[in-house]
Amino acid sequence: MDTFIRFANQTQGRDRLFRATQYTCMLLRYLLEPKADKDVLMKLKKLESSVSTGRKWFRLGNVVHAVQATEQSIHATDLVPRFCLTLANLNRVVYFICDTVLWVKNVGLASGINKDKWQMWAARHYYYFLLLSLARDLYEISLQMAQVTHERAKGGKSSSGDPLGHSVADEMEWLQSFLLLFRSLKRHPPLLLDTVKNFCDILIPLDQLGIYKTNAGVIGFGGLVSSVAGIITVVYPHMKLKTC
């Protein structure tokens, strides 16, 4: 109970919980739509929208944090992560600016704002942010895989000969790559968590921008998984992928 309260008392912790609730509602609505009562569906929709609206208050001021994160990522040691993360964070700054403009429109402080245009911009920059984050993740994964291969080669486990012919060798290679990927990710849980989070999150702008349309169920599930991954990084800070 004490851990839960400490977790819920952090901004990120509480926000992740709300986000998980929001996407759970979306998922439940999709799953229950054919059979459930209209009343239940209405309540789920209301909960989802009020949690979503309330969370916007947490996001005010995130532009500042995003700028700080950009400054941090400029100092990353490796070239590829430095490039990817800096660009990603710059896109995130623009996303938060668009988000703030949309919030101003939603609370009724300014009426002359073209909501659809700003929503598209926000979605686009969020998409670029996630793409670049995934690119960084893939780079780190390839490094890990190279390291694992190197260690295995040093350990004397050389790749076996191929007595059975080409086609079987192809399948073995595919399986070996998959196992290598699996081992690399197992060695580095923060990287796995970050990749899963980015991959689940990217479904949202892919749908919004019309690049890859899915449905509310897939998005809800993806959002829920990424929120849970986010909760894990808050509860266990060592699981957060560091900028180094």
Partner: protein, 293 residues
Amino acid sequence: MGRGRFLRGEVKPGYGGPKGSTLTTGACADSEPQIRNGRDDSFLLPGKMEKLRAAQYACSLLGHALQRRGASPDLQKQIQQLESHLSLGRKLLRLGNSADALESAKRAVHLSDVVLRFCITVSHLNRALYFACDNVLWAGKSGLAPRVDQEKWTQRSFRYYLFSLIMNLSRDAYEIRLLMEQESSACNRRLKGSAGGVPGGLETGGPGGPGSPGRGLPQLALKFRLQVLLLARVLRGHPPLLLDVVRNACDLFIPLDKLGLCRCGPGIVGLCGLVSSILSLLTLIYPWLRLKP
């Protein structure tokens, strides 16, 4: 802590945003990139909550000022809308606070001083009940429980808030009393040490035998004046205590107005709420200003 005020006729149960705002449709979603800075942001939540509270009371104050000066109804409506958004948003963001207040009450039970233990524990318990009522109000306003009697639960929540503030002020009064006694006995020791003793000392406030009724009133006035000076000295020497007293006193106007015990008007309530939020922010920025325990 907030007023939980809603504008009758403006905010209907189930209100989740102004007309034309995004109710999250299937694909829209609230896509938020996470802030991944490795630092512990446990202090950021209270800061954010206090800023939102300050913004809400600033809107209330501004709305009242605009009304007095006869500003355009459009602008007044905008400010009112913003204020109601803030109020509902804060209710959602406060959803975890009840459990937190209970935990604080559990911790306060282990304090050594009996009076402090009682005051602080009861204050936290009342706060927990206030937040619980607030959660019910949120459920009602966001449409999850439309049959909630808003008026009844608002009154209930402000009653608990009032009790909590009374306990806080009692605790402050107790601390002030202790410090005044300490200060007064320290002064006595200094006087006795420097000039072989002054008859009567600080407590009696000066000479005056029991058989002199004509001197009663001036003696009382002098005694009162000395007590006030002592109080001022104690508060000047203990900024955290002074800040806590001012904060609780300002906050007191909010439930007093809402429960109809002391109708001060939205302007005063807004100003008091804003001042107390600013003082809370100060204690977050400068932790030494926070009253311990």
